[in-house]
C-alpha cells in the first residue's frame, strides 16, 4: 500500500520576477518501507519536492495523499501537528538544537508528542545505540563531529517511528567515510524498523546504495528505477 502518493503535483514560485516552475505534474507513489533516493541536477526540484511531501510548503496545484489523506487541504495548525505525528525530518546540516544534549535532541520530538518520560528515555537510548552513539548520550552537538551530528539527527527523525522520513541531502556536508557510515545506518534502520525513507542527493556514491532512484530534471520525473539488492 502506498504511504505517499502525489497526483499532478505542481509548484510554481511566483515571488520572483519570472515565475519559476519548480515541479511540473509529478505523479509518484511510495510504498511502506521503501528506501528511495531523489537525484537530479542542481535546481531540478529535489528540495521543492521534499518540502511539499513534508507539508512545509503548499503546492500550486495537485494533491499529496499521505495514507490516503490529502494534506494540501490542511490548515497550518493541523499541518504542524501532522508533521509532528507522522513525518521525520533530517536536514542538510545544523539539524540539532545546540543547547540540548544528544539524548535530549532525540527525546525532543517524543516530548512534543507527549509520550511518557520512561518510554521516551528508553527509546532514545535504544536508537542512539543503534546509530552507534550509545556512549555519547550526554554530548552537546558542538562536541560531536559533523557525521555524528547527522547520526543524531537521523536518530531523532526515526525515534518516534514516523510514517516516513524525509532527508534533504543529509550527506552533503560529510566526508566520504562519514557519508557511507550515515547511509549504512539509514539503511539498517529502514530495514529493521521498516520506516519509509526518502532522501535527496547529488552524490553518485550515495545513489548506489538506494533501492529506488527517482531522477528529476527541470521539475519533472525523468527516471524511476527500482533495484533488487
Amino acid at each position: 500500500m502506498a504511504v505517499i502518493e502525489t497526483i499532478g503535483l505542481t509548484k510554481i514560485y511566483n515571488e520572483t520576477i519570472v515565475p519559476v516552475k519548480a515541479l511540473h505534474e509529478v505523479d509518484l507513489s511510495f510504498d511502506q518501507g521503501e528506501f528511495t533516493s531523489i537525484v537530479g541536477p542542481s535546481g531540478s526540484g529535489k528540495t521543492t519536492l521534499l518540502n511539499m511531501l513534508g507539508g512545509l510548503d503548499k503546492p500550486s496545484s495537485g494533491q499529496i495523499l499521505i495514507n490516503r489523506k490529502d494534506i494540501t487541504t490542511l490548515k497550518e495548525r493541523q499541518l504542524t501537528n501532522f508533521r509532528l505525528q507522522h513525518i521525520g525530518f533530517v536536514f542538510q546540516s545544523y539539524n540539532l538544537i545546540p543547547v540540548l544534549t544528544a539524548i535530549e535532541n532525540v527525546s525532543f520530538i517524543m516530548l512534543l508528542q507527549k509520550h511518557s518520560r520512561k518510554k521516551i528515555d528508553q527509546r532514545a537510548r535504544e536508537i542512539l545505540e543503534q546509530v552507534g552513539l550509545g556512549d555519547r548520550l550526554n554530548a552537546r552537538p558542538s562536541q560531536l563531529s559533523g557525521g555524528q551530528q547527522q547520526r543524531v539527527a537521523v536518530a531523532r527523525a526515526l525515534a518516534s517511528r514516523p510514517d516516513f522520513v524525509l532527508a534533504d541531502e543529509p550527506t552533503a556536508n560529510l566526508d566520504t567515510q562519514s557519508a557511507f557510515n550515515l547511509l549504512d545506518i539509514m539503511e539498517k534502520l529502514n530495514r529493521e524498523e521498516n520506516i519509509t525513507l526518502i532522501f535527496s542527493t547529488h552524490d553518485q556514491r550515495v545513489i548506489e546504495r538506494a533501492r529506488r532512484v527517482i531522477t528529476l530534471v527541470d521539475g519533472a520525473v525523468a527516471g524511476d528505477e527500482k533495484r533488487q539488492q
Binding site: T80, F91, I97, P98, L100
Partner: protein
C-alpha cells in the same frame, strides 16, 4: 512545559557574556532608579513633614464651618466627647490643640496684621520642636499671659524681649479681643511665611483673650503611622457628626503643596523613565540578535512539529528571564545601598546648609526606605520587559518556516 522552560533557560546561557551584559544593564538601571526614586520620595517626605508640622498638622479636626470661613466664631468645644474619641483610637500618636486667629498688632511706631497661635507647648513640641528655635528671652509657661514673637515679625515691628505688644481683634461671637502683652521671647520659625507674622501665646491665655474658653479652632492629630494618614482621617470622619465637625488631611488643607510635589515627582519620574527607555532598547537589541542568530534553529523546530505558540513562549520566557535576573539582582543590590543612605544621608555643604535651615530642614538629602520604592521599580521594569517580550512572539508567529530553515 518543562521542556520549553529548559530550552529557554539554556538558550540564555548560550552566550553568557551577552546575557550578563544585558542583565547587568537592567541591574544598574534598577539600582539607579531605586536611588533616584528613594531620593525623590525621601526629600518629599521631608518637605511634607516640615510643611505639615509647622502649618496644618497631618490631620485636623475643625468645626464644620471653619474651613470655608476661618473665623473664631467657628471654634468648636474641645469637650470630653471629643477627647474620648481621640483617646479611644489607637492609631493616633498624639494630638495638638490650637486656637488661631489673625489680629492686628500695634506698637508705638507701627501696626501689622499677625497670626496669633494659642498653643499647648508640650503638645506643640511633640509635633515641631525643631522648627522654632528660641533666639532671645525664654519660652512660655502654661499659665503665662505673655507672648513669643517670630523673629521676622519682631524685626519688622522693631521689638525686643521685654517690650509690650498690643493685640486687637474680633473675639468669640461679637466679643472684642484686645490686650497688651509682654514679649517674653523671640523664636526663629523655619517657614519664612510664618516667621514674618506668627505670635505664640499659651492656649489658656488665648482662649481667655477671645472669650472662648474650652474652644479650639483646630485640633491637630498625628497618626502613629504617617503613611496611614488618609486612612486614619477616614476613620475619624466616621466618628464625628459632619453637621458639626470636619476632619481634614493635609492633602485637603494644602492642595497646592500636593500639586507641586506631584509635579516635582513627575519630572523626577521622567528621568527614571528615560533611563528605562535606554535599558529597554538594550534588551530589545539583545532579543533581536538572539532572534536573528537562531532563524535556522527556529525553522527546524517549526519544521519538525513544534507549535508556533510553543516557540513564541520560549522566546518570551527568555526575555523575561533576562530581565528577572537583572531586576532581582538590582533589588538585592539596591537594598543595602538604600539602607545605608537612609541612615547616612548625604550632607550638603555650608552654603546649602543656610538655605535648608531657612526652611527648617536638615541640610541633608534624605533617602526614603519603603517597600513601595522597590515594588514600583520592579513593576515598571517587568512591564517594559513584557512589552519587549512581545516582539519575538510576533516574529515567531509571522516567521516563514522555509525561509528560516534555509538561513
Amino acid at each position: 512545559m518543562k521542556l520549553l522552560i529548559t530550552l529557554a533557560w539554556r538558550n540564555l546561557w548560550r552566550n553568557k557574556r551577552r546575557t550578563l551584559i544585558t542583565a547587568s544593564s537592567v541591574f544598574f538601571a534598577v539600582i539607579l532608579a531605586l536611588i533616584a526614586e528613594s531620593m525623590i520620595k525621601g526629600s518629599h517626605e521631608a518637605m511634607i513633614n516640615n510643611m505639615v508640622k509647622l502649618s496644618t498638622g497631618y490631620i485636623q479636626l475643625q468645626d464644620s464651618l471653619y474651613e470655608d470661613e476661618p473665623s473664631v466664631d467657628h471654634a468648636f468645644m474641645f469637650d470630653n466627647s471629643v477627647k474620648q474619641i481621640m483617646q479611644q483610637n489607637s492609631h493616633i500618636a498624639y494630638i495638638v490643640p490650637r486656637f488661631e486667629s489673625y489680629m492686628l498688632a500695634a506698637t508705638d511706631q507701627a501696626t501689622r496684621p499677625v497670626m496669633l497661635r494659642g498653643v499647648d507647648f508640650e503638645a506643640e513640641n511633640l509635633l515641631n520642636a525643631t522648627s522654632h528655635k528660641l533666639i532671645a528671652g525664654s519660652l512660655l509657661d502654661k499659665t503665662d499671659q505673655s507672648v513669643l514673637l517670630a523673629e521676622g515679625l519682631a524685626q519688622r515691628l522693631k521689638m525686643q524681649v521685654g517690650d509690650s505688644i498690643i493685640l486687637v481683634g474680633q473675639g468669640f461671637r461679637g466679643m472684642s479681643a484686645a490686650g497688651i502683652f509682654p514679649v517674653k521671647g523671640i523664636v526663629k520659625i523655619s517657614l519664612p511665611r510664618l516667621n514674618d507674622r506668627l505670635i505664640y501665646m499659651p492656649l489658656a491665655a488665648t482662649q481667655q483673650l477671645f472669650g472662648a474658653e474650652e474652644r479650639l479652632t483646630a485640633l491637630l492629630i498625628t497618626p502613629q503611622d504617617l503613611t496611614q494618614t488618609d486612612k486614619l482621617a477616614q476613620e475619624l470622619r466616621a466618628k464625628f457628626d459632619p453637621k458639626w465637625f470636619k476632619v481634614l488631611s493635609w492633602k485637603q488643607m494644602m492642595p497646592s503643596l500636593l500639586q507641586s510635589l506631584k509635579l516635582d515627582r513627575a519630572s523626577g519620574m521622567l528621568i527614571i523613565y528615560m533611563l528605562y527607555l535606554v535599558v529597554g532598547f538594550g534588551i530589545l537589541g539583545t532579543v533581536l540578535t538572539m532572534m536573528l542568530e537562531r532563524q535556522r534553529e527556529f525553522g527546524i523546530l517549526l519544521s519538525v512539529g513544534m507549535k508556533r505558540g510553543q516557540l513564541a513562549l520560549i522566546t518570551f520566557v527568555e526575555t523575561v528571564f533576562i530581565s528577572l535576573i537583572g531586576v532581582a539582582a538590582g533589588l538585592i543590590g539596591g537594598l543595602p545601598i538604600l539602607v545605608y543612605m537612609h541612615h547616612h544621608p548625604i550632607r550638603f555643604g555650608k552654603e546649602m546648609e543656610a538655605m535648608f535651615e531657612a526652611y527648617g530642614m536638615e541640610a541633608v538629602m534624605p533617602f526614603a526606605l519603603d517597600t513601595e520604592v522597590f515594588s514600583s521599580q520592579a513593576i515598571v521594569v517587568l512591564l517594559i520587559t513584557l512589552i519587549i517580550g512581545l516582539y519575538p512572539v510576533l516574529k515567531v508567529f509571522r516567521m516563514n518556516i522555509l525561509k528560516a530553515a534555509r538561513n
